[in-house]
């Protein structure tokens, strides 16, 4: 599985301490450790390869410049994610400045939570698709969410940050995070259900 296992296999605190003391190789190791996840997150939020590359670079360059500000109160990766989120949101806002919903607009009012598509999934859908197909299906579903939902879902459920960390990184209230997260999860569930539902089943069979 992801990050946490890898992260514990190498000594993050030790590398961070060395990097802070000016050890360039230690910093490079940290970059190599986290570049995949930073890039993935940047792509998921910005939905744009060019922007994602900028975010990737700026995140690590800023991290390097501000290493002294990292006090070790959180995990290094959490700190890194916050830099990356800010960069990604700036890109997103720039691109979207003249259209649709800004990220901080209250969008939850009047929109009820619903679950339309109710069907059990086939067993182990991940075995029916290649790793790449699966990744595409999951990516496409995330991309289809509104930015306000998408960012919350990416941080909380893909990057596995806590509700509090997500709220802090996005400058949202806890309740806003929770309500967006619920909608994001339900919408994704719905989309994936269309993809993964057991053949021959339909909603009524389970009512």
């Amino acid at each position: 599985m992801s990050s946490t296992t890898i992260a514990s296999a190498f000594d993050e605190a030790d590398l961070v301490a060395k990097a802070k003391a000016g050890d360039a190789d230690a910093f490079t190791d940290l970059v190599n450790q986290y570049e995949r996840r930073v890039f993935r997150m940047a792509k998921q939020i910005t939905q744009n390869d060019e922007d994602a590359e900028d975010v990737l670079q700026e995140t690590f360059l800023k991290a390097y410049s501000h290493l002294d500000d990292f006090q070790g109160n959180s995990k290094f990766y959490t700190w890194l994610v916050r830099i990356a989120v800010n960069e990604a949101l700036m890109k997103l806002r720039k691109r979207r400045s003249d259209k649709t919903v800004p990220l901080d607009e209250p969008i939850d009012t009047g929109e009820d939570v619903v679950a339309r598509e109710v069907a059990v999934w086939e067993d182990n859908p991940e075995q029916r698709y290649s790793r790449e197909e699966m990744a595409n299906i999951l990516d496409e579903a995330v991309q289809s969410l509104k930015p306000a939902y998408r960012t919350v879902f990416v941080l909380r459920d893909i990057e596995e940050m806590s509700i509090e960390e997500t709220a802090e990184a996005l400058d949202l209230s806890i309740s806003a995070v929770k309500s967006r997260l619920l909608r994001a999860r339900l919408q994704l569930r719905e989309k994936l259900t269309r993809q993964f539902k057991r053949k021959g089943d339909d909603a009524l069979a389970y009512l």
Binding site: M1, S2, A24, F27, T28, V31, E35, R36, R37, F39, R40, E53, D54, L56, Q57, E58, F60, L61, K62, Y64, S65, V113, V114, A115, V118, A119, V120, W121, P125, E126, M134, A135, L138, D157, I158, E160, K178, L181, L182, R185, L186, L188, R189, L192, T193, F196, Y206, L207
Partner: protein, 101 residues
């Protein structure tokens, strides 16, 4: 007394139910509802599976060209910092912050 739990209520509490953030009494009530309501059971099960597939998704390697530009930018940055502190030679005079890729 037991609250009358509707499916709607269940949906609203679904996240905290899945993340195990509810107080034990409400959690137990919801669990009962899930047991008795096939609809909510399916929603709960498929939402859980949704989270599981996303958590199991590995981040793909950064494309080689992007990766090499990143490393180049990082190397320049490190050289700059060394340069400004006088300890080693920095090739790029522009101030830190925004790198051109």
């Amino acid at each position: 007394m037991t609250l009358l739990l509707t499916c709607k209520r269940f949906l609203h509490e679904l996240n905290d139910y899945l993340d195990d953030l509810l107080d034990p009494q409400l959690k137990e009530e919801l669990r009962k509802h899930v047991d008795e309501c096939p609809n909510c059971w399916v929603i709960c099960d498929t939402t859980q599976k949704t989270l599981t597939v996303y958590k199991g998704m590995e981040a793909q390697a950064v494309p080689a060209d992007i990766q090499s530009r990143l490393m180049e930018a990082v190397r320049r940055k490190i050289a700059d910092k060394c340069g400004s502190s006088g300890s080693c030679h920095g090739e790029h005079p522009e101030p830190s912050g925004h790198e051109v890729k």
